[in-house]
């Protein structure tokens, strides 16, 4: 049902080309699939398996290890509230409880309108800005209960176009211009790097 689109296949091949071994592209490609569909579908994972040259089971094996990959549909906005130590000390757990009441769901659940999924997450590296949260991996620092309500209202009303739907991570991609590309160095390429070799030649001559 949801294999990668032709545009995404082009992108996928560009990404695979950057790694000495195609399987190294697996996590970036899974993100690409999640960006396309909002979660990982079986068809997309099977397609990625074909592109990378592994079995669909191996793709699932990797995908299922990582927290960010969703095997079931989630809300348009995934709200990750940190309750780890620095946030706990400054009201992270209370903020999570407030969010549960405001949205009527428990952590891991999605609102019936499909807009919000709430998650109780581990440290997201904003400890001096506690309590903090992320919406689709965009940060909100030192957030009060009132600010949380405002944020939810704004998201529901479509007033936050700075936050892309769930699945989209970086909106800027790396692109290596072909004429500037140094190229992959495979494990089989056992030659001494040119600049190391020339330095030792110079040393020998000196």
């Amino acid at each position: 049902m949801a294999r990668l689109s032709p545009d995404n296949v082009t992108l996928a091949l560009e990404i695979i080309g950057r790694y000495p071994r195609p399987k190294s592209a697996l996590i970036p490609l899974l993100h690409l699939a999640q960006e396309q569909d909002g979660h990982l579908t079986d068809d997309a994972m099977a397609h990625i398996a074909e592109l990378v040259g592994v079995t669909p089971a191996e793709v699932l094996g990797t995908a299922s290890f990582y927290e960010m990959f969703k095997m079931e549909p989630v809300g348009r906005y995934v709200v990750n509230i940190c309750t780890n130590i620095a946030c706990q000390l400054l009201g992270g757990e209370e903020l999570l409880e407030h969010a549960e009441h405001r949205l009527g769901v428990r952590p891991g659940q999605t609102t019936p309108d499909g807009l919000f999924t709430v998650e109780d997450v581990e440290c997201i590296a904003a400890c001096t800005e506690a309590p903090c949260l992320q919406v689709n991996y965009r940060y909100f620092h030192r957030i009060t209960h009132d600010e949380f309500d405002q944020l939810v209202d704004d998201l529901a009303a479509g007033r936050r176009d700075d936050i892309p739907p769930h699945g989209t991570l970086a909106r800027v991609r790396q692109h290596i211009p072909p004429e500037r590309r140094a190229g992959c160095v495979l494990p089989e390429d056992t030659a001494t790097p040119v600049w190391i070799a020339s330095a030792s030649t110079e040393e020998a001559e000196a």
Binding site: R21, K23, L30, E67, L89, A170, A182
Partner: protein, 447 residues
């Protein structure tokens, strides 16, 4: 007090709104160290880093120059992997460097690869950090266009691709062998050392140097100013400057770059220019000196300098430069449970003592907190901990492949060692509730 006027080595550009752009970077001396390095031999560049005595800033504090030297001579290709998977509880500094000075990191990567002869570099950014991924992608694209990265860098024979790659949510991937597994497209489970020391058998079984973001961000300054200028700052055994995040119950939480080894915990927590002291009229109860995995410190440790060897000897670590301050309102049992729960959730499941042990530690602590604790539970907590980290010594021993499991025992040994009365009080209440409430048994009435 030792608040010094040491120069800002890695946070010098953060005052600019456009600190992440190539224009600002080049206008403030950026890529000059690369130009200088390209006139030196790779060995001479490595020598400067060694002279700087730069300790790794990821957690273990291993000297970067020594780490580079561990790669076996004349085995090619080698790889450089940048560890940008910052996720230790309390740690907030690599994200700042990636989001707000990505070119400084990229220049550091280029210097490292030049010195060690790496054929390709992979910059692994934590999955949840979307902005850092965007900023690094943009910075790399600009640096390629400007000729700083890629083929024939600045017209020399030095060529290398720096590939931005990213994770998908797993604390354990911050461990270097797990990161390599992840980069090979696998589940992020650590490898056994020996034989899989990355410097010998790392990415694709080739020699691989894994360096932290903050570590590499120091290199442009070191190469530009010389390793000796860097080593002139700080104390014996802890050179240069270092970023510390001070969070929790302080007036002014923040991330500060201070002279390493000289500044004390008291300076950092109480000085008005830093965290400004405990909030309100409260008193210090405890503080974590180096991230969630570090044993807790107390009042009597405040005058220790932020110096690796001193802190190690005192029974904890500076780890990832994360100081979490707890005041007298903190519930020691609750804080302990929250940290232990983190390790239980993040255990990769490879080693039995960690997978089963952390899970049981969490359950026991949860039942104590919920008022269902048993008198034998405190000894049980220590016994389970002992099975993961025999003897509960410092530095910790481990029955596991990586240090994640032993990390879960640090908050238990600390909280139980210092605040045993708080645990006992909860258990006593639970016991009384269980034994003293008269229970009237009545036959159900069916009237």
């Amino acid at each position: 007090m030792a608040i010094t006027d040491a120069p800002k080595i890695i946070t010098s550009r953060l005052g600019y709104d456009d600190s992440h752009t190539i224009n600002r970077y080049v206008a403030t001396g950026g890529y000059q160290a690369l130009r200088k390095a390209l006139t030196m031999s790779p060995a001479a560049v490595a020598e400067q880093v060694k002279a700087a005595s730069l300790l790794g800033r990821g957690g273990a504090g291993f000297p970067a120059g020594v780490k580079w030297g561990l790669a076996p001579a004349d085995v090619w290709p080698r790889y450089l992997v940048v560890n940008g998977d910052e996720s230790e509880p309390g740690t907030y500094k690599d994200r700042i460097l990636m989001e707000r000075d990505p070119h400084q990191l990229i220049e550091g990567v280029l210097l490292a690869c030049y010195a060690i002869g790496a054929g390709q570099a992979f910059l692994y950014v934590r999955g949840e950090m979307a902005l850092a991924q965007e900023r690094i992608a943009e910075a790399l694209n600009d640096a390629y266009q400007a000729g700083y990265v890629g083929k024939g860098i600045l017209g020399t024979d030095y060529s290398i691709d720096v590939v931005l790659t990213w994770g998908a949510g797993a604390y354990i991937v911050g461990e270097e062998t797990a990161l390599i597994e992840s980069l090979e497209g696998n589940r992020g489970m650590p490898r056994l050392k020996p034989p899989f020391f990355p410097a010998a058998k790392g990415l694709y079984m080739q020699p691989t140097i894994v360096n932290n973001v903050e570590t590499l961000s120091n290199l442009p300054w070191i190469v530009a100013n010389g390793g000796e200028a860097f080593a002139a700052l700080g104390a014996e055994g802890s050179k240069g400057t270092r970023m510390f995040a001070v969070s929790g119950h302080v007036r002014n939480p923040g991330v500060f770059e201070v002279e390493y080894g000289v500044t004390t915990f008291r300076d950092l927590i109480y000085a008005p220019v830093y965290a400004g002291g405990i909030r309100g009229d409260h008193q210090l109860k405890a503080f974590i000196p180096g991230g969630g995995s570090a044993p807790w410190f107390f009042e009597e440790h405040l005058d220790l300098p932020l110096e690796k060897v001193t802190v190690d000897k005192a029974g904890s670590m500076l780890g990832s430069g994360a100081i979490v301050v707890m005041d007298d309102t903190t519930d020691a049992v609750k804080a302990c449970l929250r940290l232990v729960r983190f390790y239980a959730r993040e255990s990769c499941g490879k080693c039995t003592p960690c997978r089963e042990g952390t899970t049981w530690l969490e359950r026991i602590l949860q039942r104590i907190l919920d008022g269902h604790g048993r008198p034998s539970d405190l000894e049980l907590l220590l016994d389970v901990s002992d099975n993961i980290s025999p003897g509960l010594t410092w530095p910790p021993k481990q029955t596991t492949i990586c240090p994640l499991g032993p990390s879960a025992t640090a908050p238990i040994a600390s909280a139980l060692g210092r605040f045993r009365d708080e645990f006992e009080a909860r258990i006593t209440v639970a016991e009384q509730a269980r034994t003293s409430v008269p229970v009237e048994l009545k036959a159900p009435s069916h009237a």
